[in-house]
C-alpha cells in the first residue's frame, strides 16, 4: 500500500507539471477539482459531526437542552450525564435531571464488553492460526477437502445460525453468562482461517526447513517462527475481530438477560428503553452512547493506519 502515495516520477511529467502543489500528480481538471474538494469536505463533515454532537450533548445539562436545542456549544456545561451513566448521582438527582432514577453502572458493562471481546479475539485468532498452519504447512490426508469444507462456512450468514445456536447455548446452561456470549466466536471463523492461511502460505519455506533441520519440532516452528513472522497480519486480524465483537448487538442481546452478562451495546439498548418516553434524559443517554463508543475510537486513533490499510481484498479475493 505504500506505493499508493508515491507519484510517478518520470522526468516527462515533472517537466509538464507547472503546479505549485509539490506532491500531487499533475492533473488537468481545475474547476472540477474545487467542486470535488467541496464534496469531500461535506463528506468529512458528515462523518465527524455526529461525534462532535455526541460530545456537545453529553456535556450539556439535560434540562437546558430543551431551550438550547440549536446551540452549537454545550448548553449549561455539566458532567451530570456522565455521572448518571456511572451511577454517581443519587436517584432523586437523576430523576430531577430527567433520568430513569435507577442505579446503573456502566463500568460493569464496560468490563463485560472487555471480557467478551478479549475472549473472542484471543481464542478466535489463536485457534484459527493453528488451523491455518495445519492447512498451509502440514501434510495430511484430505487436507484440501477439509479446507474447502471450512470455506463453505463463508456461505452461511451468521444470522441463520443465531437461533439454533441460542438453543444450544441454552442446553449447555450458558445463557446469561459471558462465556455463552463468547463461545460461538471463540474457536474460529472461516474468514480468519482463510485469511491467515494466505499469509502462512507466503512465508518462505526455507527458513522453516532450516529450523526443522536443526531439530526444531513443527510445534516449535509454529510458535517460534510462524507466529512471530506473521505478527503484522495477526495483529490486524485481532484488531478487526476485537472491534467487530465489541460492536456486536444481536447475539449478546439473545444470550444476556440480566446485568450479569450485559455488554455495553445491550446495556445501551436497555438504558434507552428505561428512559421516560416524555422528556427523555438525552444528555445521559448520549453520554452513555459516547462511553460505549469511546474505547473503539481510541483503539482506532492508535491503530488508524493499520486498520485503514487492512481494508481491501488482500484476504477475501
Amino acid at each position: 500500500m505504500a506505493t499508493a502515495t508515491t507519484p510517478p516520477v518520470t522526468p516527462d511529467t515533472a517537466v509538464r507539471d507547472r503546479d505549485d502543489v509539490p506532491h500531487a500528480t499533475p492533473r488537468r481538471f481545475r474547476p472540477g477539482r474545487a467542486v470535488a474538494w467541496a464534496f469531500m469536505i461535506l463528506v468529512i463533515l458528515a462523518s465527524l459531526f455526529p461525534f462532535y454532537w455526541m460530545l456537545r450533548t453529553a456535556l450539556s445539562s439535560n434540562n437546558a437542552l430543551y431551550a438550547g436545542a440549536d446551540n452549537l456549544l454545550p448548553v449549561q456545561p455539566s458532567l451530570g450525564g456522565f455521572q448518571r451513566v456511572f451511577g454517581l448521582q443519587t436517584g432523586q438527582e437523576a430523576i430531577d435531571a430527567g433520568g430513569a432514577g435507577q442505579a446503573i453502572n456502566f463500568w460493569h458493562y464496560l468490563v463485560n464488553s472487555v471480557v467478551v471481546a478479549t475472549l473472542i479475539t484471543v481464542g478466535q485468532v489463536f485457534f484459527s492460526a493453528m488451523a491455518a498452519y495445519a492447512f498451509a504447512r502440514l501434510h495430511w490426508r484430505h487436507r484440501d477437502k477439509v479446507f474447502l469444507f471450512f470455506l463453505g462456512g463463508l456461505m452461511i450468514p451468521a444470522i441463520f445460525t443465531f437461533l439454533p445456536n441460542f438453543v444450544l447455548i441454552k442446553q449447555l446452561g450458558l445463557v446469561d453468562t459471558l462465556l455463552g456470549i463468547a463461545l460461538p466466536g471463540m474457536l474460529m471463523t472461516p474468514f480468519a482461517v482463510f485469511f491467515l492461511r494466505q499469509f502462512f502460505l507466503g512465508i518462505s519455506r526455507e527458513v522453516e526447513e532450516a529450523a526443522l533441520m536443526d531439530g526444531a519440532s513443527k510445534v516449535r516452528v509454529f510458535f517460534q517462527l510462524i507466529l512471530p513472522m506473521s505478527a503484522a497480519p495477526i495483529a490486524t486480524l485481532g484488531i478487526l475481530t476485537y472491534i467487530a465483537s465489541w460492536n456486536d448487538y444481536f447475539w449478546p442481546l439473545m444470550v444476556s438477560y440480566t446485568d450479569r452478562s450485559r455488554v455495553l451495546t445491550v446495556a445501551l439498548g436497555v438504558f434507552k428503553s428505561q428512559t421516560p418516553q416524555t422528556g427523555p434524559d438525552w444528555s445521559g443517554l448520549i453520554a452513555a452512547t459516547l462511553v460505549a463508543a469511546l474505547p473503539m475510537l481510541i483503539l482506532f486513533m492508535v491503530f488508524a493506519k493499520r486498520i485503514v490499510n487492512s481494508i481491501g481484498f488482500s484476504g477475501i479475493k
Binding site: T5, P8, R27, F29, A36, F39, V43, I44, S47, P50, F51, W53, M54, A69, D70, S128, A131, A134, F135, H139, W140, V146, G153, M155, I156, P157, I159, F160, T161, L163, P164, N165, L168, L187, M188, P190, V193, E209, M213, G215, S217, K218, V219, N247, L253, T265, G269, K272, W282, I286, T289, A292, A293, L299, F300, A304, I311, G312, F313, I316
Partner: protein, 309 residues
Amino acid sequence: MTTTTPTRREVRSRERRGTPRRRDDTRLALAFIAPALVGFLVFMVWPTLRGIYLSFTKFNLLTPPEFNGVDNYVRMAIDPVFWNAMRVTLYYVVLNIGFQTILSLVIAVMMQRLTQKTWLRGVVLTPYLVSNVVAAMVFLWILDYQLGIGNHLLELVGLDKIAFLTSSEWVIPTVAFINVWRHVGYTALLIFAGLQTIPESNYEAAKLDGASEIRMFRTITIPLLRPILALVLIITIVGSFQVFDTVAIATRGGPVNSSRVLQYYIYDVAFGRFQFGYASAMSVALLLVLMIITFVQYRVSRADTSDLD
C-alpha cells in the same frame, strides 16, 4: 497437547535428513485443527442443519420440538406480517445499497484521484468504528422531531420539520440513511482498494489523448472495476438484508409495522412469542433469498469478467 510424539519424530527425521517434507503429519494436524474443527462443526454446521430441522417443528424452547411437517411454511405463505416484513426489508435494501454504492464509489474515486492521504481515509472510516447501536442512538437524537439539530437545520433553511423515525413514510429511508452513514466509508475503502489495482499508466495514456476526468471514469474506471464492484455488492447486499440493530434501537419495528424488517420480526416471533419453529422457517426463507442473490450476482459478475477479457 500431544507434542511429545511429533517431537521425537522430528528428531528422527533430523537424523535421516533429506526428506522432512514427505512425512505425514496427520496426528499433529488433528491436534492443530481440533479446536477450529469443533467450533466449525458445533457452532456452524450443526446449527445450520438444526435450524432447517426446527423449521419443520413446533418448538417453544421449554418442551422438545414436535415435528409438524410444512405447517410453518404454510403459515408463512399466508402471514401478511411476514410478507410485509419481506417488502419492508426489500425496500430498505434497495435504498440502502443504492445510495451507499453510488456514494462510496464517488468517495473512493475522489480518494484515488484527488488525494491519497491516509488521514482522509481514516476520517471517512471513523463512523464504521462505532456499533450500529451507537449510530442508531446518535441519529435518534440528531433527528428527534422536537429537539434534534437535524430538524432545526431544516427549519433554518425554511423547510418543514420531518418526523424522521416516527412517520411511516420516512422511517425506512431514515434507517437506510443511518446505516449508509456507518458503512459508506468502509465500502468506499473496499472500492478504493480495487481502484489501486488499475494501473496508473491507463490514466496517463488517456490523459495524453486529452480525455477528461469524467470520461476516464466512464471508460477506464468503471469497466476495470466491474468485477470488484460486483463482489462489493454481494457482500453489502447480504449484510443489508440482515438489518436488525438500528430497527431494534430506533424504531422497534414501528410506527405500526412500517419498519418491521424480516430479522426483527423473526426475533420478535422467537423471543417475544417463543415460536422457535416458525421463526426458524422464516430464517430458512431469508437464507434461501440470500443464497439466490449471491448465486445470481456471482454468475453475473463472472459473465462480466469474461466479457472484459
